[in-house]
Each structure stands twice: as C-alpha cells, then as structure tokens.
Amino acid sequence: MPVIELSHISKSFGAVKAVDDVSFSVEKGELFGLLGPNGAGKTTSIRCMLDIFKPDSGSISILGGPMTEAKKDRIGYMPEERGLYQDIPLERCLAYLGSLKGLSEAEVKRRAAGYLERFDLAAHKHKKVKELSKGMQQKAQVIATILHQPELLIVDEPFSGLDPVNTQMIKDLLREQREAGVTVVLCSHQMHLVEELCDRIVLIDHGHVMLYGALEEIRRQFAANAVLVKGADGVPALEGVERVEPVNGAVKLHLRPGVQPQEVLRELVRRDVPVEHFEIALPTLDEIFIRVVQGRSGF
C-alpha cells in the first residue's frame, strides 16, 4: 500500500488553479523526488498531502487513509519557508517542537543531544536561534524535522543555503533515513542531487503532472538516438552517424533515424577500434527538466 496517494487533486486560490488533476503515489521506504519550477504547485501539493490545505476535488491517502491528528506525530515536515523561534535558546526550541510531536521531555533531550553533537551544534545549544548562522539554523531545522523519528519525511529544499560539507551531511542523512525504512519525499531544484538520491520522481509544471515514474525509465524515455563513445585513439567516422559532439574527452554520436546503437557498436568492433567506453547517451535530469518546462519535450 502506498504511503502517500494523491488521486486527481485540484486546488484553486481565487482565479488561480495551483494544482490541476494531480495524481501520484509514493511507496513505502522509497526516496521520492517532487520536482517543478517555482510556482508549479509543489508546495500546494505538499500542503494538501498534509491536510494544511483542503483540495477542491480529488482524494488523498496518507499513511493508509485520510490525515488525522495522530498521524501528524508520524510525519516530519520541513517546509521551504522555514523558521524557528528566534528569541529562545536552540535547545528549548527543539524541546518544544519535539514535545509537540508527542515525545517526552527526557526523550527529546536525549535525542536532541545526539543530533546536536552529530551536526556540530552542541556548543551552540544555549544560544538563541537568531544568534546562529543561516547554515546552523538550517541544520537545526533538519534536527527539528527528524527528532521524533518519523515514518514519513517530507523535506522541501533541504540543501538551500548549505555549503558542500553540510550538503553531504544532509545527503547522508536522507540515505540513512531511507535505509532505516523511512519514506522520504524530497522537493528540490538541485537536479543533480535529486538524480543522485531519488528512486522515482514526479515533475509538476503549471499545476499539472508532466513526468512521473522511475528516474532511469524517464531518462530512457528522453534519451535521444545517440551513443557516448570513448576510443583509445579517437573514434573514426562511421556510417549512420549524423553528427559528432565532443563531450569530456569522449564523443557523442547522434545517429540517423532508424540506426540502432548496436549497429554502431558492431561497426566499431568490426573495424577493431579500441573502445574504452560505450554507452547509450541518456539525458541528465537537468536537461529533461529544462526540456519539459520549456515545452521542448519529445512527446
């Protein structure tokens, strides 16, 4: 049974239709990417999932049914527009947010101490939140989101404002959560990170689902008729190749319509060309994103 299931949901604000007939589901234990340009309807979809907004139509199932107050304690949510109580010490802020999720005072204290240590914030726990740097506040926000060890984690742009070291720390944390069986929904603009972390994705644009499915499958769907070849002594001119494009020491061979990559490989072998690398040229998620959003998709 999916952990999240959105079925034909629509939501309007006045004359603006933020989400229009959106459907997708997130399976238990997967790291799912929710993508889309600014204003695409990602945050509205998340808010509908969490029952912050009521959809105008459609149905939502979360953790096996409609949202309830009790389920809130099983979900960790880090919104894009995040914030913490600025005028109180970090430790007290975490204690309050943790206890709101049903943890006892002692348990909050114990877990917070561990995470503060791990995220290099232990020395700052008595400081007011406003005295922490932006990156520190970001890490504190992550701690507040996972402190109660949720079954479902929804994180909206968790990497914004982080340096490479802290980005790696959050990446490791998300992988660790997935390995622990937590279902993670990752909403991000940083496509290379989504590509690196996610199993499946949904791409929303102008409130509509544009792409949905396993990441590898989508990349194959968007693959042009091209191969990436690296030869020890270069790659000779080949029959059936329309255009040659150099890519990082290799060449991308754009094939004529109807020409199969296997034919190119056979020709290279027949000619005894020393091949170091041969692969079907798949587009990056960045490229797919741009193509879809700019309306240049192949279908």
Partner: protein, 414 residues
C-alpha cells in the same frame, strides 16, 4: 489534551522568561511605590514635611488680622477663634498704623451701610486671588456670620450649609459627602481604566504571540504538529493565566511595597467597595478576556504581520473603550441610568461597564448575572467563529487585511 498542555506550557515559559515581562510586571508597581514611598516617608517625618511644604509654599502666615466695625455689627468674637487672631480697631487710622508696623497682615472695614449693601473692604499690602475665599472661610468670616446670626454659632453654621442631606437608598450604596465626592467620581474611572488595560493588554499578548510565529515563519511547522484549535486553546488559556498572574503580581507588589514605605492603600471609610466586587471582577475579567482574546486571535490568524493587524485592533477594541469615555460622567453621576445600564449589559462593553457600576454599588442583583450570562454566550459564539477563522489556509495566506475582510471572516462569510 497533551498538546494543548504543551502549547500552554511553552507560551507561559516563553512569556515569563522575557526580561520585558518582569520589567513591566515589577517595574510599574516599583515606580508607583517609590513615589508613594517618598511621600510616605516625608509624611512620617513632620519636620521634613513642613520643610518641604515651606520650600514650595513659603512660610505660613500666622500674624493676626484686624477689623474696623463702623456698622456696630460685631458684638462678640466667637470662642472658637483663638484670642489675638482677630483684633478690633476703633478707626481706620489706628488699623493702618498697626498694619504699617507689621502687627497685622491686613484689616477689614465693615462700613456703616453694610447691612444694606453687603460690601466689606479688606486692606492688605499682599493682594492674592484667593483672598476673598480665605476671608469667607477664615476667622473674620466666621465671626461675621455668628454676629449676623445674633451670636448663635449653631444658627451661623446652618446658614452657611443649610442642606445636609442624609440620602437613604433602598439598595446598599455609599453615601457621598464633601470629603469623598472626589473619590466617588474617580472610583468608576479607575476601575474602568484598570479593567480596560487588563483585558486589552492580556488579549494583545495573544495577537503578539501569533504575529511573532508568523514573522518567525514557524506557523506551518506548528500546523503539522497540532490542530489550529489546539493552538488557539493552548494560547488563550496560557496568556489568560499569565495576564491573571501579572495582575496578582501588580496588586501584591504594590501592596507590599506600599506597606514597606509606610503607607497603606485605604479607601475612605465612606466608600465601601461591595464585597462581591472581587468575585464579579474575576468573572468579568475571564469572560471579557475570552471574548477579546478570541477576537485578537482571529486577527492574528488573518493578519500577515503586526502592522497590518494594528489597523483592525482599534475597531475590535472600540466597544470596550466606550465605557471609558463615560467613566467619570455617566458612571459617576448616573451609574444606574439607561446608558450605563445598557452598556453594562451589552456583552462587548459589559466587562468594563459592569465593573464600573459595581464599583459604585447599588446595581440591581439580577444585572451582573444577566450581563455575565450574555457575555459567556458571546464568548462561546466568538470563540467558535474564530476557531473557524483559525484555519491553516487563512493563517498562511499572507494576504493584506482590511476591517471588512476581518468582519466577513468573523461572520463566517469567507
């Protein structure tokens, strides 16, 4: 329930851990007690008190006054006037010499036709705007009145104040006299003002708390941890408790500090604050707070920030201000008239207006319970209406707020 308690505890701890809270809570009575303490200390030390009053008012005049009676009216000096304080002179010439010699501070001349014209002259080197009044109230005025009354001090007294009315009310009410009239005028005003400040300041805490959470952008996180109703309930109870605590601390510290400074807060014995005032005070504070805190919470839910909220605050608090406008007129002069009674029964002004009337006394027994009942019903309706406004979508909309929008939302038309 557990989450409401968590929210309640957090609100209380957050508020009382702010230095500004203690500054206001202890600072105000401290300043007041300091002022009273200085005056109290001076009062205990009569010499110092006199020194201060002399420094401000100058040395007290103890020289006698003289009079020249050309009408033959003054036959005797009443025994209440100490000997030597009022000296007779046979003619103006002699009196003038005594004045120039500094033996008297001035002299009165009662002309022969005084009984026809009623005019008396006073000759003094130090004219003053208060001279006529001082003459009327001083030894000479008394001597003149007694002699006009044929030497009968009792009759002279009655002529001076012929109407000493003993008011008999069918309901217990403080009987004003000249000494406590001032206090009678001001008690309703003070009670009205205190109640207005208590209710509005406590209710405003709620608005500030919500606005702060919006400004800190933490509302969305809170809404995925607790329901809007849990948030509303926890905050209303917590801030009401803090408001009550603040009131008790204000009262307590003022009382203690005043005692330490040698003064006590004693109302004149003629002003009897009805014993039920305290009980009704608690009832009207709690119900008034519930209504206005809920209204403020609704405002906090809709307004994107404090600046936007402040434009609507005046409209919300206006019904509570109305009794304040009439506090030392209507409530002091006609506390049981139609306007005062109407305001004390109208739920939105009742918390302040009824307290003002109760402080005067004489309120019909059925009116406070009726006002409390109407207020409680209003509180229930408003809390319900505001709970509807306290929806996540409204709280996160960030739209500019207008009075019309607020009222429409309160009516459930949004």
């Amino acid at each position: 329930m557990k989450k409401i308690l968590t929210i309640l505890k957090n609100e209380v701890v957050t508020l009382i851990s702010r230095p500004s809270f203690w500054l206001v809570t202890l600072g105000l009575p401290l300043v007041a007690a300091l002022i009273f303490g200085v005056i109290g200390g001076l009062n205990r030390n009569q010499e110092a008190s006199q020194a201060v009053s002399q420094a401000f008012l100058g040395p007290q005049e103890t020289r006698p006054e003289g009079y020249v009676d050309l009408s033959g009216l003054i036959r005797q000096i009443p025994p209440q006037i100490p000997p030597g304080l009022l000296l007779p002179f046979p003619d103006e010439e002699t009196a003038r010499r005594a004045l120039e010699a500094g033996e008297i501070q001035g002299y009165y001349v009662i002309p022969a036709d005084y009984l026809e014209r009623g005019v008396i002259r006073y000759i003094t080197p130090d004219p003053s705007p208060f001279l006529a009044e001082r003459a009327r109230q001083g030894p000479f005025g008394w001597a003149l009145r007694v002699n006009l009354a044929g030497g009968d001090p009792m009759l002279a007294n009655l002529v001076q104040g012929p109407l000493d009315i003993e008011e008999i009310s069918l309901t217990p009410v403080a009987a004003p006299d000249d000494d406590n009239l001032f206090m009678m005028m001001w008690v309703p005003y003070i009670v009205t003002l205190v109640y207005f400040i208590l209710i509005t300041s406590t209710a405003t805490l709620l608005l500030n708390s919500l606005s702060k959470e919006k400004e800190n952008r933490i509302m969305e996180i809170l809404l995925t941890s607790a329901s809007p109703r849990q948030l509303l309930t926890g905050k209303i109870i917590a801030l009401g408790a803090v408001g009550l605590l603040q009131t008790i601390l204000w009262g307590g510290t003022t009382y203690i500090l005043l005692n330490l400074s040698g003064r006590t807060f004693n109302l004149p014995s003629e002003i009897r604050l009805p014993p039920e005032l305290l009980a009704w005070g608690l009832v009207f504070f709690l119900l008034g707070y519930a209504v206005y805190a809920a209204l403020m919470a609704g405002l906090g839910a809709l307004a994107p920030n404090l600046r936007e909220a402040s434009q609507v605050t005046f409209v919300i608090l206006f019904p509570l201000m109305v009794p304040l406008f009439f506090s030392n007129t209507v409530f002091a002069e006609a506390p049981h008239g139609a306007l005062a009674t109407g305001l004390s029964l109208f739920p939105l002004s009742a918390p302040v207006a009824m307290m003002a009337r109760l402080s005067v006394g004489g309120v019909a027994w059925w009116q406070p319970p009726l006002a409390a009942l109407l207020l409680a019903a209003t509180a229930v309706l408003i809390v319900r209406a505001v709970a509807r406004m306290f929806r996540a979508q409204a709280m996160l909309s960030g739209q500019p707020l207008k009075v019309k929008t607020y009222l429409r939302a309160l009516m459930g038309k949004m």
